[in-house]
Assembly symmetry: none
Homo-oligomer: 304 residues x 2
């Protein structure tokens, strides 16, 4: 049986005091069965983003221990930073990796959120796939006006939290807990310096202007390379696979007489998104990721 493997990317509203950050991250690093893949603090945003992987049970324990530290050490009454936020533990998204699907991560976010609100006395909003109201699928909507607006509007029915009382934690504010797909950052560099063309291609492919589902894209000038780039985020490679997005960008570039120079995969990618590209490139019938020995060894080690 495949173990459920979840990525979780908690965002904490502290990106300046290194001692505080390491105290918050420590319970995540120390938890058996949970692995910190990345932890980045941004002093301008005054925010730390941690990337974790683990099975649901240890992951939840680690998150609660880490959140308790954040509540102890962060006071939102004095927090300032460039990034929108509603709490000391601002967002906790759960991302299905293997052995768990999106409904599984929604259930995980909801049950974790219930426990989190009760144990930490912090009101919780469910967002994206875990949202209980359509408008809360959009995290920006949950964070509208940030902590400061929420403080005044929380008693309104449309801003009532999904879990916990309709009042902010005095120092830690509120937390948005969600389930979402893995974000893939995929950039296509074009043999052109025509920024307008890159922007037009981005517009043609992105979901918000009627392009491909679950695709965000902007045109970017890469001055150092004397090229332009279509910088793409795919929020669900099941809806818009990497190869389909790449083909569409090539097509759009082609129509404008522009060649693709190369592409870049930025940050982490789930194996499945790439394996499916390979399976299609090779016309493999009935490809099963269970045939990939490295992934099976991962299962065995987890199961052992």
């Amino acid at each position: 049986m495949t173990r459920a493997l979840v990525e979780c990317v908690p965002n904490f509203s502290e990106g300046r005091r290194a001692g505080v950050v390491s105290a918050i991250v420590a319970p995540l690093r120390d938890c058996r069965g949970v692995h910190v893949l990345d932890a980045r603090s941004d002093p301008d945003h005054n925010r730390t983003v941690v990337s974790l992987v683990g099975e649901p049970a240890p992951l939840q324990e680690a998150l609660l221990a880490s959140a308790r530290k954040a509540v102890q050490l962060i006071d939102m009454r004095t927090h300032k930073g460039a990034h929108p936020r509603i709490g000391a533990v601002d967002v906790i998204p759960f991302v299905p990796l293997r052995g768990i699907d999106m409904p599984g991560c929604v259930a995980l976010a909801r049950s974790f959120g219930k426990r989190y609100a009760r144990e930490l006395s912090i009101p919780v909003y469910f967002y994206e796939a875990a949202a209980t109201r359509p408008e809360r699928r959009n995290l920006e909507e949950v964070r509208r006006g940030q902590l400061e607006a929420l403080e005044k509007e929380m008693a309104l029915p449309q801003r009532a939290p999904d879990e916990g009382d309709a009042r902010l934690h005095p120092t830690a504010g509120a937390t948005a807990i969600g389930a979402r797909a893995f974000l893939i950052a995929f950039n296509v560099n074009l043999r052109s310096t025509d920024l307008a063309a890159a922007r037009a291609i981005a517009r043609a492919i992105r979901a918000s202007s009627g392009g491909m589902p679950c695709v965000k894209a902007v045109g970017v000038d890469l001055r150092e390379k004397s090229m332009v780039q279509v910088s793409i985020t795919i929020t669900d490679p099941g809806a818009s696979p990497l190869d389909a997005v790449f083909a569409r960008v090539k097509d759009e570039a082609d129509r404008r007489g522009i060649a693709v120079h190369e592409t870049e995969l930025y940050g982490m990618t789930p194996a499945s998104a790439l394996l499916e590209v390979a399976a299609r490139a090779l016309c493999i019938s009935g490809f099963d990721a269970g045939q990939v020995i490295d992934l099976r060894l991962l299962d065995l080690q987890e199961g052992a």
Copy 2:
């Protein structure tokens, strides 16, 4: 301490009678410390290929129990199938995965082969890295003329078995036991019933007739599908990547006016072989398998 982890891929000469196959596979599934990663039966080949992972000690017990079932239930005197074979248990290769190297797997194959020949009264040929004679490094040489030729030639010194008496087991034939690197079984099914064409394509791509390095290939008639197949084994995807092999087969088929219907990946494959295909299909510059979150986790767990 790292445990020795070996892959073993026994091939049994039965791919049609589901009850027989499950009786043979059952002792492999039931053995503690051994994991069946994959078990596939092909009715045209009349053959079942099982992928196992385990530590050497339980692996050997499981293999002996399974082979005993195969000897009971398979009668090679009536066996017919498209795939070359010399016995009910046709081949047993040991593949080093982790904590064991090729010489370790050679030692394992040799000691297991000695015990296997003695306990089952089946003559054993050592092949590939475990071969005792240079020509037997090549499994095709061991299987030359198949069971039927071996029956006549077994008394000749050049065809003497490495273990056991120089006569076939009356119903189970002989077994080739070896140590080898991980190999990829990749079949291309053609929209054609022209077996001569499939054979010509196989000849064009295989290393032994001057084709692609580390590629073995034969043309096979898939009567049940009314198709022919180029059945390919890649012994080193670094030397001949899957996409290059596929492109070459397509080319050769194309030249003969034959379309590719689909391909099959048979059994287990290392992630790297597929990820490289995806990276090339997407023109990714500087692709690093460390960006694949699942593989990263495998590394982390090994380090733990």
